[in-house]
Amino acid sequence: MSNAIVESGATVRHGAEEGGPGENGREQLSMQQALNRALDEVLAESPKTLVFGEDCGRLGGVFRITDGLQAKYGETRVFDTPLAESGILGMAVGLAMAGFQPIPEVQFDGFAYPAINQIVCQIGRMNYRSRGTLPMPITLRVPSFGGIRAPEHHGESLEALFAHVPGLKVVSPSNPHEAYHLLKYAATRPDPVIFMEPKSRYWQKDGVDVSHGGSPTGAKVMRPGRHLTLVAWGAMVGRCLQVADLAAEDGVDVEVLDLRWLKPIDAETLATSVRKTRRAVVVHEAPLTSGLGAEVAQLITQGCFDTLKAPVERVTGFDVPYPSGDLEDEYIPNIDRILNGIQRVLEYRRG
């Protein structure tokens, strides 16, 4: 991985890889700041881009991701919509047909559901249906995943749903550097991208090298290791890096892979990693059954069947509705559960 950024926990450690960003180029930004900066630059660079959604304009978004953008770009480029997610996404389709590049927001993951019909049947299919004459360069920002003790429907993980939908691409950044570069990349693509922001990471600062992003596609090795590969995305990447540090104390050298693109999935980087480590655990917050972990596990198994030492383990949320704050920590994969998963894989014996 020539463009791998090697990170551990919240602090970034720079490897000496070719083309890696220099220490000087890095700024300490929160993910909220990084996303805001990315939107600012995209709006400045392309007059066709529009930012809109509930409370995105005057308020700057409930998470302040669009803070200051309306003041800077005016009410035509950055605007509040009425409170209707199907309306927001349906309108985005029409704006795209008129030649704009919409960057709509749904306020929280759970409120993408009212727009699923427009997302699946229209955004995902218009390019196909129109035989390429009506592309859908829409980047839908979805504050996603749990971990903030929020009300019901404010902690959902919809990646398995989105990744199954033909015509969509899906990406999730795990830290401010990724957030900045992946959003800039996504928002300038000619195809629809679902951009899943790990809201529990919005306020954590980390280094961002604005001038060297590395490759914007594929998965990324965040920490090299020899004994086992941990695969994660969004907020779970940071947790897996913590786990890797703990495992290292016990002499277990864990490789952490940030999947980044949840569709298309970079099966090659997965296979390269697991062919080396011969063991893998995939971690996500969404419920287990029919979660994206199954796809990841199956891709690994397909790619590494002859070298794999144990079945790929999944450490995930349970098949239950996302619980209230008091039970959140019981639901989201925690360090112990991930360590247990690692242990099960390491201890696996055939027969």
């Binding site: 409370d55 308020l59 409170l83 759970g110 929020a150 009300p151 039970l327 247990n340």
Partner: protein, 345 residues
């Protein structure tokens, strides 16, 4: 605006007694005090968040007070604390949702005639229609009361609900609290045409638009609406014009989208103070009564706070056991793994 035919039966027109007026006042004071206390609890770390209803006491208490607890069923949003209190819901169990103990609250919806707290904007408006149609099918005379806001009126589900209800003549009161704001978006950039009540006519649904800060007007309009539905005339829409005087929630900062002057002008006279002046003026209540009501409100708040503070987390086991009526082998297996692993936590 009032397209609701006048009440035909007498009971929907009888004036409130002095006792009832005083009771309404006491409820409003209790709600005001509990509401502002809940904001304080959040600051003190007793609860992680709260959605205050400051300024909507008349709209909530007046309408909730009109509900017939023996027959009707109420579908709230996340901001109907005053309705719940007026209906006599256990307030510790109600507030549990804001303590992040259990989504929807810990009260029994069937017992209390209040559906679980609903966090999806407009999520339960259709439920009210279904429940109401169920009354027709079962030959009962209960009415469903669906609460929603000016922002919620933009959701497609509200339109589907109004159309379904009107086609089926379902006994539903669509009770809209137009509090001027949906988080940062003012109603004039949300509700095209300027009035949710004006929408009703397009479905052949009668509507009343009322001063939602006049608790007696709210009560009387709701009572008329309920009677109209109960008599088998189909749905009614009530739009109570009020104002969200506080932030959207404890994590909101209204200073980012409205000035204090706008806030003052938009809010108008305080509904509680207005009612107090009225009761004083017509001699229904005196200062001693007001002082006693406030003392009761304080005692009540203290009791509720104690209850909330004493409330422990629900056992993690409930994550699994409450998903289905009939659990599944997969879920049982996951619960077993959770039990095993949670000991390491």
């Amino acid at each position: 605006m009032d397209t609701l035919p006048p009440p035909d039966s007498g009971s929907a027109a009888v004036p409130l007694t002095s006792r009832q007026l005083r009771e309404l006042y006491s409820l409003m004071v209790a709600v005001r005090h509990l509401d502002s206390s809940a904001v304080a609890w959040q600051r003190q770390g007793i609860i992680p968040g709260y959605a205050p209803e400051l300024g909507q006491e008349a709209a909530q208490v007046g309408s909730g007070y009109a509900v017939d607890l023996a027959r009707d069923f109420v579908f709230p949003t996340y901001r109907e604390m005053g309705v719940a209190r007026a209906m006599g819901v256990d307030m510790v169990a109600y507030m549990a949702t804001h303590k992040a103990t259990w989504h929807g609250g810990l009260y029994d919806p069937i017992e209390s005639r209040l559906a679980p707290i609903q966090a999806v904007v407009a999520g339960s408006v259709l439920h009210a229609v279904g429940w109401a149609h169920g009354q027709t099918l079962a030959g009962r005379d209960g009415v469903a009361m669906s609460y929603f806001g000016d922002g919620a009126s933009s959701q497609g589900d509200v339109h589907e609900a109004m159309n379904f209800a009107a086609v089926m003549k379902a006994p539903v009161v669509f009770f809209v609290q137009n509090n001027g704001w949906a988080i940062s978006v003012p109603a004039d950039r949300q509700v095209a045409g300027g009035s949710v009540a004006a929408r009703a006519g397009g479905y052949g649904i009668p509507a009343i638009r009322i001063d939602g800060n006049d608790v007696v007007a709210v009560f009387e309009a709701t009572r008329r609406a309920l009677a109209h539905c109960r008599a088998g005339n189909g749905p009614v829409l009530v739009e109570a014009m009020t104002y969200r005087r506080g932030p959207h929630s404890t994590s909101d900062d209204p200073g980012r989208y409205r000035s204090l002057a706008e806030e003052r002008d938009g809010a108008g006279a305080d509904p509680l103070e207005r009612f107090r002046q009225r009761l004083l003026a017509d001699g229904t209540a005196d200062e001693a009564f007001f002082a006693a009501a406030m003392a009761d409100a304080k005692a009540e708040e203290e009791e509720i706070r104690a209850g909330i503070q004493a409330l422990g987390p629900r056992p993690g086991e409930e994550m699994f056991s409450l998903v289905f009526q009939e659990t599944t082998p997969v879920l049982q297996a996951q619960a077993a793994i959770w039990r095993e692993e949670s000991e390491h936590v």
